[in-house]
């Protein structure tokens, strides 16, 4: 009897061995390694849930680790390189493996070239569906071609494999789940899925009086603010366009969102700009109600037409004021305010300093910025911060002026700083203008175009 019990235990143990082996192994494929990088396929499960009776979404990942200084590419690689090309082998029950693109970084290369991609580590999420699982093992296999670059570039190709056990109850893999979660969360959200956030664009023709002027793509993300993280300034990444080369985007913050302006160069000269064309973009480094996000969108943008979402139904008093905030009235106002501030500060005429006029002068200088901010309708946070910095430095000078004997020097510095403020404010007002509303009636009612697909 004892012998039979021992025998039975042995049989049961042997029967459980293959399954135990599957459970023990992490379900990540083997690394394919080279001196610059290594790459493997990963899944979030030690045992994937069986698809019966319904199909199961498979969250796979193409996991790279990169040697310091080396990078791999986003779907638009930038000026050089190319993005990874991945072809999954047909496997019974596996359907539609699609490589997805987390928000990338921008790398400045020598010679003014730019690369878009990832350094140190990246997991390209792969979305697939498991429709059926004949047997208890899904054999994943993918041919991967990729280019890894530092200063030099080296192409590699591998066939990566991973054997994914499938069972009735899912067993997550504690090694790969956090990794996949982290990189899936870096996928840009579809613009339409973000409450309170919309995005659109307008193609602005080159100014006719600017020799060699370039058309500009203006992309607006309404309802967004810059993310507060120091390494996450607002960024824009355009997908490859068949008509234009894109320059460096400039970001600025407006009253109702973040605006990017991208100089474009048509691939062919002598052809009229398209009346409308489709751009696809990913915007990063944004936040809404304090929550950071990145978004992706594909929109048809119209030439010189402000989309309806950006055009207020009726001009508000503030907008009417804003229309006055051109460089000339701004400059005149600034000069007048500067003179007033200088007088209050005791730098003009016979007034002597030290009788509380520093505070009045400071208030006047602040008023310059405040008035121009109101008139200009929008001033970037960075620009405003710079003006405030100057004011702060001037306040410091004003304080020191009372404590030091170098009154002439400090007086000179005060006036210099004030003049810088005065010059900067109208420039900011001009710089932060939005593309003017359309002049022709059809464009004025322009609707927000979305792609058919």
């Amino acid at each position: 009897m004892r012998t039979s019990k021992t025998f039975l235990s042995l049989i049961l143990a042997l029967a459980a061995l293959p399954f135990a082996a599957h459970r023990a192994a992490a379900i990540a494929g083997a690394w394919a390694s080279n001196p610059q990088s290594r790459v493997r396929l990963i899944t979030p499960w030690k045992v994937a849930p069986s698809p019966s009776p319904r199909e199961t979404d498979l969250r796979l990942g193409l996991h790279f680790t990169l040697a310091p200084g080396w990078h791999v590419y986003w779907k638009n690689s930038g000026d050089a390189g190319f993005p990874p090309i991945v072809a999954f082998a047909k496997a019974p029950g596996l359907r539609g493996a699609e490589l997805l693109w987390p928000a990338p970084q921008r790398f400045e290369l020598r010679g003014g070239l730019v690369a878009l991609g990832y350094e140190k580590e990246v997991v390209y999420p792969v979305r697939a569906t498991l429709q059926s699982a004949p047997g208890h093992l899904l054999r994943l296999s993918a041919d991967v071609d990729y280019l890894v670059c530092e200063v030099d570039c080296i192409p590699y190709r591998y066939t990566l494999t991973a054997d994914q056990p499938v069972g009735t109850s899912a067993v997550p893999d504690p090694e790969t789940v956090p990794l996949l979660d982290a990189w899936w969360s870096r996928l840009p959200a579809a613009a339409d899925s973000l409450p309170g956030v919309t995005t659109d664009g307008v193609l602005e023709p080159a100014a006719p009086d600017t020799p060699g002027g370039a058309p500009v793509l203006e992309i607006r993300v309404h309802g967004a603010r810059p993310a507060l993280a120091p390494d996450a300034a607002p960024g824009l990444f355009l997908e490859v366009h068949d008509t234009f080369d894109a320059g460096r985007p400039e970001a600025r913050v407006t009253d109702d969102g973040v605006v990017f302006r991208v100089p474009l160069k048509p691939h062919e000269v002598g052809k009229p700009l398209p009346r409308e064309t489709t751009f696809a973009w990913t915007a990063t480094g944004l936040a809404v109600r304090g929550q950071p996000f990145s978004l992706e969108a594909r929109r048809t943008v119209r030439l010189g037409a402000a989309p309806a979402a950006n055009a207020p139904a009726a001009p508000s008093a503030r907008l009417a004021l804003g229309s006055l905030a051109g460089p000339v009235p701004g400059a005149l106002l600034a000069v007048a305010a500067t003179l007033a501030a200088l007088w209050l500060w005791g730098l003009l005429g016979t007034l002597r300093p030290g009788s509380g006029r520093e505070a009045l002068g400071f208030a006047a200088a602040a008023a310059i910025c405040g008035a121009l901010w109101a008139l200009s309708r929008q001033v970037s946070f960075v620009g405003l911060a710079a003006v405030e910095l100057i004011l702060l430095a001037m306040a410091l000078c004003a304080w020191l002026r009372r404590r030091m004997d170098h009154r002439r020097t400090v007086s000179f510095l005060l006036s210099l700083g004030l003049a810088a403020c005065a010059a900067a404010a109208p420039w900011l007002a001009w710089h932060n203008r939005l593309t003017p509303p359309p002049t022709d009636a059809p464009a004025a009612t322009g609707e927000l175009h979305r792609p058919a697909a």
Binding site: D79, A80, G111, C153, P263, H267
Partner: protein, 205 residues
């Protein structure tokens, strides 16, 4: 102890400089567009001779940005992609241009370059653009980056050599844009596509 006024002077000055630095957006590294006049140049070849674009007036010219140490240029040299096209279109001038700066590890000296060209049967001139001036004028971004210039000196193609960055496509699937462009050009037809996205290593300016 009295504080130096220069200390207080630097604060507003730096702030002003920072502010005005925001005004200067760096220009895009845009390519010479199709339809533009090809920027003229005069460069020295690996053979020591001087070549000028003006020497080839009234002829179609192909410019190929090359770098033997770039795996993409090297693959096309091994596969004779360029040299076969050069042979096929004998009436077309083919010039290789290497804009790698001297001092970069990819820079190839003339004797080594000549040996490389001989090894892979490259008989067209290869020109040094050590300062990168010509590369920047054309907006050459990658090796290879191809330009076709028509007999009137206008750029009619700007882009990749083909549609196969990984070099993995079977030959029937591989579309050689320069081959198509030269065929169209010599037949007096418009080049289509006239521009594509070049792939490869970045030019080592």
């Amino acid at each position: 102890m009295r504080r130096s006024p220069s200390l207080t002077a630097t604060l507003p000055l730096l702030a002003s400089l920072f502010l005005f630095s925001l005004t200067s957006a760096r220009p895009a590294h845009a390519s010479a567009a199709v339809g533009e006049t090809a920027p003229p140049f005069q460069l020295t070849g690996i053979d020591g001779k001087t070549y000028s674009l003006a020497d080839f007036k009234d002829k179609a010219v192909v410019l190929e940005w090359a770098n033997p140490n770039c795996p993409f240029s090297d693959r096309h040299a091994r596969e004779h992609t360029m040299s076969e096209l050069h042979k096929k279109y004998g009436q077309v001038v083919w010039l290789g241009i290497d804009s790698t700066r001297p001092g970069h590890s990819d820079f190839v000296k003339p004797a080594d370059y000549q040996a490389y060209a001989q090894k892979y049967g490259i008989v067209y001139p290869i020109l040094y653009d050590e300062t990168g001036t010509v590369g920047r004028a054309y907006g050459a971004k990658t090796t290879p980056h191809m330009f076709i210039i028509d007999s009137h000196g206008k750029i009619v193609y700007n882009g990749a050599i083909d549609n196969d960055p990984s070099g993995r496509k079977a030959k029937p699937e591989r579309v050689n844009y320069v081959n198509g462009g030269l065929t169209a050009q010599l037949a007096g037809k418009p080049v289509d596509p006239a521009s594509t996205k070049p792939y490869g290593c970045s030019v080592k300016y």
